[in-house]
Symmetry: C2
Subunit: 250 residues, 2 copies
């Protein structure tokens, strides 16, 4: 069944109001009619099945039929801090990372990031990434849309990292040096509801200065197996492994 | 250090000869000179560091300096049987799946596959996919380039599946029904050197007839967590989880 996120204030006990681009999607793309069912989430852990009762060009009204308990969020809150990659890789990371359960994304300007975000265009870029996250969250039955922050510096990232229960850094030199178990050890130390920050370098990787700094700040340097993963693959590996560990091996 | 795969007959005890497009890559793109080092694999588990001794427009000759023991292949041989997806998704699956350690890929025509491969163009398409696999294998330090077969039918796939130690099917209805542990159970039953066939449906998923048939043939139906993954994400999830299980948790 088709899923949509609505604004919190647009979901009351009995009625859901869908606005914006989703109206066109419901009425024109899906060609739904009065009496058809959709599933709506308020992005605050309430998800309901509801029935279309009325629509116009600008909004769709639906009556709540059933409270759903989808429970599709990862048991561990995962934030992906991604060194700014080239081209459309960030879009891929956000689309796939959303499917795989990330709670938030923080792009950061790493020493080897070639791309720089123009301050003026930054707002538009984030809007576009948020749209990708919303669509991926709907498609994958998420209850929450991951948040996407503006580009940070590595220092800013670390200065705001006190709230995480664990911080790991994906480092390809660790992979080359056959470092295999620190990621597992870190996950073994976490329990449901806790949070982890996963820091991933851009195409050229993190510099040894960045790694030294991150170690000093208490981050755990991890390898993701013996093969060298492209930057966009590392995030997907981390999220898949976290899902496997906490959702499948439970 | 840059890596290249060479034909088996082009790697003797002392000398490696690089031919084809890699010659241009070494001499023009990387601008290497006599005395520079490269790493070469013969796609048969022999990997050496070697030094350029001579080059022309058509070949590069290098002297073997050191035998390397990279050990970058997954301990379990994973074949991804992928229901033909739309657009360039198969390219993404093969690039990322190679980085993540897949041994081979078998595209198959599923009931809901919208794309059909024209017999005439099939050869060209596979050539292109093989090139993607070779480049991803070089980039990720693989010792072997995954093989890519021509498009099969599901029956053909099953009729040739006796050689696998396990067969699993990614099924989103299993994910919705909260099936969490069969994938873990299957991996727990495998040991180093054994093989697994992972069957993944196309965009619309496998039909219930296909699922029934696969069950009858002894395949294990698995969910990959509670979220609904796009077809191209499922292969990456399976490979990441297998790496985590066999390479990191060891």
């Amino acid at each position: 069944m088709q899923r949509y996120f609505v604004e919190r204030e647009n979901m009351t006990e009995d009625i859901v109001i869908v606005t914006g681009e989703d109206v066109k999607h419901i009425t024109k793309v899906m060609r739904m009619n009065i009496g058809d069912d959709i599933i709506c989430s308020n992005n605050q852990s309430r998800t309901v099945r509801c029935q279309l009762v009325e629509y116009s060009d600008t909004e769709v009204r639906a009556r709540v039929i059933e409270e759903l308990m989808p429970n599709t969020e990862l048991p561990i809150k995962v934030t992906i801090a991604q060194g700014l990659p080239k081209g459309d890789k960030l879009e891929l990371i956000i689309q796939k990372g959303t499917e795989l359960g990330a709670k938030s994304f923080i792009p950061f300007a790493a020493a080897r990031s070639i791309v720089k975000w123009d301050q003026k265009k930054s707002h538009k870029k984030i809007e576009r990434l948020e749209k990708i996250a919303k669509e991926a969250a709907e498609q994958s039955y998420r209850e929450q849309i991951p948040t996407i922050s503006d580009v940070k510096s590595l220092h800013h990232l670390i200065n705001h990292s006190l709230s995480y229960d664990a911080i790991i850094v994906a480092y390809e030199e660790a992979a080359k040096n056959d470092e295999q178990s620190k990621f597992v050890q870190t996950l073994n130390g976490l329990t449901t509801g806790q949070s982890i920050l996963v820091i991933i370098g851009p195409e050229g990787g993190l510099t040894s200065e960045e790694i030294t700094y991150l170690k000093e700040q208490g981050a755990t340097i991890c390898g993701f197996g013996p093969r060298i993963l492209r930057t966009e693959t590392a995030a997907l590996y981390a999220l898949s492994a976290i899902s496997y560990h906490f959702e499948l091996m439970r």
